[in-house]
Amino acid sequence: MTPLGDSAASLAPRGLFAKAALAALVGAALGFATAWLAVNDGFAFGAARSGPWVAWPKAGAPDIDPYARATLARTGAVALGAGEGLAFRAETDSQGRTLDGRCDYRISGPTPAARFWTLALTTRDGRPVGNAARRQAFASSDVLRAADGAVQFVVAPSARAGNWLPSAPDAKFVLVLSFYDTPLAASASSIEGVELPAIVREACP
């Protein structure tokens, strides 16, 4: 054996150990980081989309997936039970632009059959928006309807006629549309075909 081979052999275990420790550390960091990303940015899987609206029908069912459970546990949110109803969220308008508190939006269109529904406006992290009108939501029993029964909402930072839902001018927002006692089946495939109101951006500074 040459002296060089000798020293390399005695160094090898230490080098191996360092490499293994590094691999384990990097792996653990990667694992935590991906888990954090998966639960902090909404539900990872099982989304059912209709236009700008997104629902997670499985989040309220007994066969909820582990990622949705982790997300609920981490954020402290509760889903609507599959037997109670179904809630949709929209973070963008019908053209895919993020909902902005400075702009005016018109929300109108068909709502699926339900005994009762509500439309609420929240911040991006789900808190209500305080306002002088003390209006955070509308219930289906509380809206002004056109002669033909159609419902139209206006989201704007300052007062508007009709069903006005106030937004905070300095923040992005989320719309939550909840249906109670609805035959919307708890399966993503049947929800994707459901027609929901369009969110149309109007004046925007």
Partner: protein
Amino acid sequence: MSRLDRALAIAPWALGCLFVAGIVHLTTILLMPHVATRDAYARLGGADAATTRVAQGADGARPMPFDDPMAALAICRFDLTKGPTRIQATVDGEHFLSLAFHDRASRIFYATTDRAAVRGAIDIVLVDERQLAQIEAEDAEDATPQELRLQAPSPQGFVLIRALAERESDRARAEAAVQSVVCRREAS
């Protein structure tokens, strides 16, 4: 060493790294519902086997994010190790009232609304496997049980009681409705 040799030398370490990442990722996701300290169970508080109102701020804020501001809420915590828990509600057939049964780890194992009420009443007994067997053994031969017996997947959890205010002026009625739901421990 050629580039290929170097890549081959790194490959097992990269694979090991990904393997560790996968295990840590899955373990974190699966453990989260069991170790989270700020989940709905913790945020809602409430007493064991008693109906407790969930207060709402002036701006509609509640402990849980994205919750419907039009809903009035009450919570009934259960701990089946101390005995079965009975939930009774009287409904008027007109206003919405729902019950969602949550286990301790962020899962709804059962949910129902006033539409499922029998003769204007909802009567549910939460039991574990042993208590269910005991109750069934005590049943009279030909009697059909009047209540729904629901076996909980975990000994602890909570029932979220929800009523909807049809307008702002209807809120007091909804609050009274959720608080009128009875939640009590049965002798086991």
